[in-house]
Subunit: 283 residues, 2 copies
């Protein structure tokens, strides 16, 4: 596994692989890797000749009062894990100044309702930071396929839209959320949780599963389903950031469930904000 730190080295690596006709699969991460990330690596290796992973804690996707400073950085452990998979060909691990030097001024945005709902409401500017950095990474890595986790569902929808609208020559593959035994979605932020909080946090996926069952059993009123989720979360003394049911395809509001929907939740357990979602297909 090559570890490259500069854009110039990456350009050379990518050019060489393109010339040889090797397809590139790309897994962008912020490090503190878990089995969710590794499942993306596995998927990439199955579909592409070479797998490129990036680790970059992207400052411009954090709000002023968010956890950028304390976001876990365990680079040595990350490198060990990636090497252990024997499936990663290249790790891109740039310093902040390499990707965002003094005077950096460009931005890439998706200016529609996709970025104003769900996490877009709770985290203003977050998705602008995501689309800007991913646009850069796509230009640097020029991957045939980009692998993203479903846990960040809104992010997958926004990045797909960015890629389509700006004609990046990259296909997006969304992989299923990987979960702990009790159903909690794996997240780098789970390490913030105390043992009790960790136990409490499992309620989110249980509430989402319950909601999924309600819909499968014929409940089509969004409001009723949302209220049930809220009731269940409040019982567990969890603070709710948002619970919403939206059309999965374009995150449009719905009052009745007729199309494929995403049930998306963000909760705060102790001081830690966690998100999760389930996608419910139409029958």
């Amino acid at each position: 596994m090559k570890i490259l730190k500069t854009i110039a080295e990456m350009n050379e690596y990518v050019r060489k692989n393109k010339k040889r006709g090797h397809s590139l699969g790309f897994v962008p991460t912020m490090g503190c890797l878990h089995d969710g990330h590794l499942s993306l690596v596995n998927a990439a290796k199955e579909e592409c000749a070479k797998v490129v992973v990036s680790i970059f804690v992207n400052p411009i996707q954090f709000g002023a009062n968010e956890d950028f400073d304390k976001y876990p950085r365990v680079y040595k452990k990350d490198i060990r894990q990636l090497k252990g998979t024997k499936k990663v060909d290249c790790l891109f691990m740039p310093e902040k100044e390499e990707l965002l030097p003094e005077g950096f001024a460009a931005a890439v945005t998706v200016d529609n309702e996709l970025q104003s709902v769900l996490c877009g409401q709770s985290r203003p500017g977050h998705f602008k930071g995501v689309t800007t950095i991913v646009a850069k990474l796509l230009n640097i890595v020029r991957p045939e396929k980009l692998f993203l986790g479903q846990k960040d569902f809104q992010q997958t929808v926004i990045l797909k839209k960015m890629i389509k609208d700006l004609d990046f020559d990259t296909q997006v593959k969304v992989c299923a959320t990987v979960r702990e035994k009790d159903g909690l979605a794996m997240s780098s932020r789970n390490i913030y949780l105390s043992p009790e909080e960790r136990e409490t946090a499992a309620v989110m996926y249980k509430a989402l599963q319950m909601a999924e069952s309600m819909i499968e059993l014929g409940e089509h009123e969004v409001e009723k389903v949302v209220n049930e989720i809220k009731r269940k979360l409040k019982e567990a003394n969890v603070k709710i950031d948002y619970i919403d049911i939206l059309r999965a395809e374009n995150l449009a509001e719905v009052s009745r469930i007729t199309d494929e929907v995403v049930i998306a939740a963000a909760i705060i357990v102790g001081k830690t904000r966690l998100i999760d979602n389930v996608v419910v297909p139409v029958k």
Copy 2:
């Protein structure tokens, strides 16, 4: 000369050429071609294996009260001219819906003083439209080199910044402004001018040349030089949009001329807005 209308066809064309190791030179235009555009084609052919020209009257770079509807569209003549050069390998001529379909929502911006000075002040949103469409075209054509005319000086600076900040793998080549015999910069908008207006318009470059001479003769006070330009233009009964002298490298304001500067002008002759500039190197 191939004429391609869709992104899918362009993708195929570009992929084929990349595979063969052909370098691509790209000249984006809005059509109504003149010798300025053709000089870009010549430069591209000298430096690259294949030359791609695009013609697209980009609606998102026009303001609501600007001349999008009446902007000259003379596609047959353009095609004839390009064929005549025998230097263009591929003409990309998409319909509006191909590049900007219903629901298009992405944007690429350079969010600093570069886009707030000069034309950025007179034409709010203009450069956002330019950077967004050029980002798309760069992703579609993936050229080794992009050829731009110096007449749109601010555009060249902003696009260079976008390309650098977003890591596009494309080099920018700025070619000298091509002029009519009396010095008027060639522009697709010159055809709006009546014979008298056409004659009057020549004063802009004469005023810029005069300013250049003043600086070369030792005048370093921006205000004095700008006032002289304004005096000369007012004598000719020309309406001034702006006259400014800025550091050429980053369009920063200066009061004394010590670095390379650009003297940039925008005037309105009759109903037609015209721009021009000269770059004055430091001695």
